[in-house]
Structure formats: C-alpha cells, structure tokens
Symmetry: C2
Subunit: 274 residues, 2 copies
C-alpha cells in the first residue's frame, strides 16, 4: 500500500493510503488513524463505515474520532464507500453506483465486476491493514446511515470477526425503504429472498448479536422515514437483544450529530475491545 | 440576518447565517456555535479567524471546537476570510483577493471598495452578533495562520475589545514574509510604514498585550519559513510579554494540528472570559 498523506493528530498519526484492490478491480483509498499507543504495541481496530456520497475523507475530517481514539488507544479505519474510477460503472443518482456501494457483493450487471464492498472490507482491506499497520486482529465496527447498515449486517453475519458493534442512524430496514429497495434490486436482482441478508432489522430478529449493541438516532433526522429506526427497535426488543437505541432530541442526520456522539461510541468499543 | 442552517451539536446549535454587509459591500456568510448554556443566559464569545483559502465552514466542520465550547460554555464565531461574489475584485492566486482578506482595510484599487475585513469583524459583525444572538459583550479571539495574524493584530491594537488572545501557527511577521509583503503591498500600497500596524511581531514588540498569550506551532509545519514563529518568540521574550509559544513535535499546518489543540485554546479562553 502507498502513503497518500500522514498528519500528526492528537499525538498519533492520521494516514491516508491507497492500494490496488483485486476484489474491487480498481485502486481504493482508505484512511487509518493510529493513536499514540500504537507506537508502543499493536492496538485494537475500530471500523467506521460511511454513508451515501461519502468517501474515506468525510468522517476522518468531520467526525472528531481522533481525540477519543487517542484517549482510549484504538485505531480507526475509514474505508471508502464504493469502488471508483473512470472504468467503474456509475449512475447519475447520488444513491446508486460510486459513493453508494451499500456494503454488498453485487451479482448483477453492470455492477458485479467492481461493486464488492462486502468482501473488500471483510477480507481484502482487513488483511491489508493487519499486514501493514500496528493493529491487533481484534475489531469493533460502527458506521453512519448506509454505513450503520453495513456495520450491523457485517457483524451480525460474521460474529467471529468483530467483538463490538454500534451504529449512528443506520438504514435499519432497507428491504422496506427507498434507501434499499432500489439499490438491492440493482446490485442483487429482483429476487427479494437474497435481500434479507442485507437488512439489519431482519438479521437481528433472526440471529441477534452476541454482545450488546449501541444505536444512536437523532429525533430531528430529516431521513427518519427512510432509516426506520422503529423497525430496528422492535426487532431488538422482540429478540431481547442486549443493547440500547438512544433517540436524541433535536439532532439531525449530519456530521454534527455523529461528532456529538463519537466520544460515546469510541468509549463503548474501547470498553469491549481492551 | 438570515438563517442558512442550524444543526444540533453537543447539546447546542451550530448555525450558519448570512447578512448584507455595508462594510464589505456584499453579502457575507458567517457561522456561530452556541453552547447549551446559551439557552439559559448569554455566554462569552470566542472569535476564530481562519486562514488563506478558507471560508466560514472549514474550522466549523474540521476544527472540533464545538465539544470544548459546549463543555466550557463559550460561543464561537467563525467569520469568512474576505468579501465574496461576482462583483467583488479577485485574483487568480490563492493568496490574494477572495479567501485572502488578510484582516485589513484595503486602501488601494481594486481592493478598497470591498476588502475591509478589519472593520467588518471589529465593528459590523460584532454588532450583528451581539444584537441577534444570546452572547455577552465579552470577547476572546484566536485564529489559524492568516487568522492567527488577524487575531493578534486586532487584539493588540484594540485591548479594550478583547479579554483573551491566542493563535495557531500565525503568520507572525508578514512585513518580512512572502505571506504578507505581496498582500500588504496590494491592499495598502508600497509605503511600508502603513504595514507595521498589521504585523504581530512588530505590534507585540511595540505595545505588548495586556494579558497572557498562547501560541501553538507545529515543528513540522510546511510553512515555517513564511510564518516566522521565531520572530514572534523573540518579540515576546524581549518585551517580557507574559504567555507561551509552544512548539509541537511532528505537527504540520493542517486542521489535524488545529483540532489537536483546540481543546487547550478553548479552555484557555474560558478561564479568562468566565
């Protein structure tokens, strides 16, 4: 992997790296924050998956995670949200194609050649980071919006790969939302039976999560109708899933919301990873 | 003034506003963070002046000030760095014209009609904020790079208007730097005697600052030759100016540097304003 930039941040290093991805068939950029503790010994790793339209940079610059990660001794990795480039399929809409990978392995043309973010993150990027940076093979995962969907679906389907799980305003029930039906149909085809493996509320209802789960949601989120936190809360309560869904008065869907609760999430993961 | 956006952040409100500026002869946008304490009673106000190429948004989204301002009960105002718009003079270079107001009142064509950031901030925006938001007439000022230059020069020339002063990697000696000579010449003319009123090191040497002064500087800043922190440190030591210039190993000129020390600066100002 190649260094794009490295900046000192809270005594650690905020790096941006790129590598040639076999899984996605293109060059992929990602960011990793290494806390000061990583200079002494490998540290656990928190995955932060971003939402629609984002790349590796948004949460890295606007999420405010570094301060908390430095305090708790966690590394944080910020992957991109899709394959990118001139040779990669795309769509004019902001919510399909580049910037909108939805954390699935596409099986349909024109997407299936590059749009394999599920395997990219769980296998290729994970191996790349473990091989090249001073991090332990001990992982937590979180994300915002489409990234919250990615975090919950990946962890619940792969209990052995993650020790801790949380989400910010996740797309909770994409099989019943316009943020989901369009993308799952395009990437996976019209057979809806394949979709349930990518729906947090359905997966939690069926499998539960081995640990406890923290979900934060703004009560003034402009996308509540698309996110459907009530379906997630219902699934968790019915399953008796340990954890909490916190609804925060006045908060919207922006990074000001994510930033405000980043400290709580990093502390939550640190408690379970350290 | 008109609301552009308001987002809940750390229990307070991050607002963006615009108004028609008589001083600058154009519409101006600025951001204000109001901490939760402002819902009960007016709070003191910290001015954050940004650097070259920035507008009201950069430090608002990347500086990480809200968390600390909420803890300490300070409002923070983020002005733009210049007048803007189709009818406003500009230059192709990033460091002259729009985005590069240098916090002076220009006296030369084509700049003098709009480029009056010194008066805009000290008089017009100050009045606008005091009139429309729950803030006390009690001010601290800080800034980064060109904004650190603005903070020190404005405070040292107007002791009565500010109670506390700090800077991040200020352009400290613009009369002897390519970040300064070009702009002061364009905005104020070739008579260098007018420039000394806009040089932090010269002003501190001549007048000092009534309180103590906190300056942070990255040792790996890529612009050290243009910033000249050694001239500022020399002025302060010679003047016996209370305060400190802290040189931080490994830090560069980016917002990752500002973000890493934002908490220290907000605490510094809060101690002196509350």
């Amino acid at each position: 992997m190649e260094i794009v930039s490295e900046n000192r941040s809270f005594g650690g290093v905020q790096g941006v790296y790129k590598h040639s991805s076999n899984t996605c068939g293109c060059e992929m950029t990602f960011a990793v924050y290494l806390p000061p503790q990583a200079q002494e010994a490998p540290v656990p790793l928190l995955w932060y998956l971003s939402g629609l339209t984002c790349n590796h940079e948004n949460a890295m610059t606007k999420g405010g995670f570094q301060e908390h990660a430095a305090r708790h001794g966690l590394a944080v990795v910020f992957p991109d949200t899709s394959p990118r480039g001139a040779g990669v399929a795309d769509d004019e809409a902001y919510d399909l194609g580049q910037g909108a990978g939805f954390y699935v392995n596409a099986t349909r043309d024109p997407w299936r050649q590059n749009f394999r973010m599920y395997d990219y993150i769980l296998t290729e990027l994970r191996a790349e980071v473990l091989e090249n940076l001073p991090v332990q093979d001990r992982h937590g995962i979180t994300g915002h919006s489409m990234g919250g969907h990615g975090a919950i679906t990946m962890a619940v389907r792969n209990h052995g790969m993650f020790e801790s799980l949380s989400a910010f305003a996740p797309i909770a029930n994409p099989t019943r939302s316009d943020w989901g039906r369009k993308q799952l149909s395009a990437y996976l085809g019209d057979d809806e039976s394949a979709w349930s493996q990518h729906d947090s509320a359905l997966l939690l209802d069926e499998f539960g999560w081995k640990g406890d789960l923290l979900v934060d949601q703004g009560a003034s989120d402009q996308f509540l109708d698309l996110l459907k936190p009530e379906v997630l809360a219902d699934s968790m309560a019915r399953r008796r899933q340990p954890g909490q869904v916190r609804i925060h008065k006045g908060y919207d869907h922006s990074y000001f919301f994510v930033n405000s609760f980043a400290g709580d999430h990093v502390a939550w993961h640190a408690e379970r990873l350290n």
